[in-house]
């Protein structure tokens, strides 16, 4: 060996191969980039991904909230109207009308399965029709208005009243009140319930479409990031890194993006929902009031960003593993 040649390192001094420890004080060691995640910088993976996820989560939460609110409206209306029957006495002559109404009420109170019978007061009827006929309807009753009986039947678990039961009531009422018309209250709102159900399905479809769109966005972003970090990935592979280790880097980065985006999106959605909620509350319009979200509904909505993080993470992992197999 040449005299100028430095001594060979003594590997046995260290747990891993390294040169002899220098006599001088050890140099300051830079803070290491700990963990696999340091292999690819988070910023270069993210790009617009947190924003995309924020928008997707906000839209999903709003769509889900709309679906839940509609469900609440429908559920509340059903509960209110289930077992409800309206008996109208459509008779122009006031005396005859009142007589038939009394007779119908007496008969119904004696019927089995009838929970309550309430004769709707004239003042209430006047208030109901005042938007169409105006205040101060003539006392003489020039415009005949039917007498109304609000009847509650025992409908068990809120199911609709069977048509056979209604037909039976009509049959029995005909004998004492030939001018009686019997309608199930839920029947009036059937088209409304149909429309609400359609909107609920639309909300479900929107949530699913947004989830699919978010998965597609994450998949494209993961593949793009893989492409731009191909060199680093090759190095890690050649140093003995596994596909799982590399996938973990990308899924962690995606999870962070999704958590940031999901949080921002959820905050935005909450602001929008509260704003819309306050606007609808100002309407004080019967059914709409019942659409307010319950705390259990909010818990369900909180699951949206959580599910978004999980979905984005799994999508990133699967797409990266799939791409790595083709490298």
């Amino acid at each position: 060996m040449n005299a100028d040649t430095p001594p060979a390192p003594d590997w046995d001094e260290l747990p891993h191969p390294a040169a002899p420890v220098p006599q001088a004080p050890p140099p300051p060691v830079p803070p290491p980039a700990r963990g696999d995640g340091a292999l690819v910088p988070q910023a270069s993976l993210s790009g617009p991904m947190p924003w995309v996820i924020a928008i997707m989560v906000a839209m999903t939460v709003i769509a889900a909230a709309a679906g839940i609110a509609l469900s609440n409206v429908a559920g509340s209306a059903r509960a209110e109207l289930s077992g409800g029957v309206t008996v109208q006495i459509v008779e122009a002559r006031p005396e005859l009308r009142d007589r038939q109404a009394d007779a119908a009420a007496r008969l119904l109170r004696g019927e089995s399965g009838v929970v309550s019978v309430r004769a709707v007061p004239q003042a209430e009827i006047d208030a109901l029709i005042s938007p169409w006929l105006g205040e101060g309807r003539d006392e003489a009753g020039a415009i005949p208005v039917p007498a109304l009986l609000d009847v509650r039947l025992d409908s068990g678990d809120g199911a609709a009243i069977p048509p056979a039961r209604l037909a039976e009531l009509r049959q029995r009422l005909r004998a004492v009140a030939p001018a009686a018309r019997v309608d199930a209250q839920t029947g009036w709102l059937k088209p409304v319930f149909g429309a609400i159900a359609s909107l609920q399905w639309l909300a479900v479809a929107l949530v699913l479409l947004l989830a699919a769109a978010m998965s597609a966005a994450v998949l494209l972003a993961a593949r793009s990031a893989l492409g731009s970090h191909r060199e680093t990935i090759e190095i890690v592979h050649l140093l003995g890194g596994t596909d799982i280790q590399i996938a973990r880097i990308f899924q962690r980065a995606t999870a962070i993006d999704a958590a940031v985006g999901g949080g921002a999106g959820f905050a935005l959605a909450v602001a929008v929902i509260l704003l819309l909620g306050s606007r609808f509350a100002e309407l004080s319009a019967g059914l709409v009031d019942n659409g307010a979200l319950l705390w259990t509904d909010w818990l369900l909505l909180v699951l949206v960003p959580v599910a978004a993080v999980a979905l984005a993470t799994v999508t990133a992992r699967l797409s990266v593993l799939s791409s790595l197999r083709n490298l």
């Binding site: 003594d10 191969p17 040169a19 140099p27 830079p30 290491p32 890690v236």
Partner: protein, 241 residues
């Protein structure tokens, strides 16, 4: 399937390699690398040195022939078993292939971290290794701020830090001054004395004389020159007991 000879690190039998439909860049290459041996791979530019090294560090599968690494058929090795084999290799790439956004320290620490070595057991050896290759004051530097020679030393430190069973180095002294070249060669020798098989591809004929017990593998237009058959069937004395 394991090899019958435990001292055998790598064995190539009639290996051929072509890229796409071009002519073969390696033809009928046959040799055996034994544990603790030191090899120089020489040949003119385009002779196939880098291609042979790519086969050795499992970055490439051959077009034909048989390659056995550490007693196992490397050609039919399933993908999920490759990392385990690659962790037994140390590679100095001709173009260094450092991770650009990691510091010199983190680049050298990479093989240990990939192998799951606890962080406490990473810091000291990596710092000492960088100190030894003369980069103690450049630990936090990114590759882009290092000179070619400094990058090469980082690449070498990264290749040897895990004390590999087989060290493959492609022109490892091409960008350093003669004194550092000799120093790095001593590093390889020290590793070799501990049982690591070393294969160094080089154009530098002066370097060959620095390691007297080394074997020369000479490639000429993709064919390995082995007139005596010593590379394929090494003399008994060169095979460790």
């Amino acid at each position: 399937m394991n090899s019958e000879n435990p001292g055998e690190i790598a064995r190539f039998d009639n290996v051929g390699l072509r890229y796409g439909t071009d002519r073969e860049v390696l033809t009928d290459v046959s040799f055996t690398l034994y544990k603790g041996s030191f090899y120089f791979l020489t040949g003119a530019s385009g002779a196939g040195k880098s291609s042979l090294l790519r086969l050795l560090y499992l970055a490439q599968r051959p077009s034909r022939g048989v390659i056995r690494m550490f007693g196992t058929d490397a050609i039919t090795l399933p993908r999920e078993r490759l990392p385990g084999f690659r962790r037994r290799l140390g590679v100095v790439f001709q173009d260094f292939r450092l991770v650009p956004h990691l510091s010199a320290f983190d680049n050298v620490a990479l093989p240990l971290r990939v192998a799951g070595v606890p962080e406490d057991d990473v810091t000291r050896p990596v710092a000492d290794m960088l100190e030894w290759v003369g980069l103690g004051d450049r630990m936090a530097a990114r590759p882009a701020t290092l000179s070619g020679g400094e990058q090469q030393r980082v690449a070498i430190a990264r290749a040897v830090i895990g004390r590999p069973d087989l060290l493959v180095a492609d022109e490892p002294t091409g960008n350093v001054d003669p004194e550092m070249a000799v120093k790095l060669l001593r590093l390889f020798e020290a590793l070799n004395r501990l049982g690591t098989t070393v294969v160094v591809a080089t154009h530098d004929v002066h370097l060959l004389r620095k390691v007297p017990d080394s074997l020369i593998m000479r490639l000429d237009k993709g064919r390995l020159s082995d007139p005596t058959g010593a590379l394929r069937y090494p003399p008994r004395r060169q095979v460790p007991a």
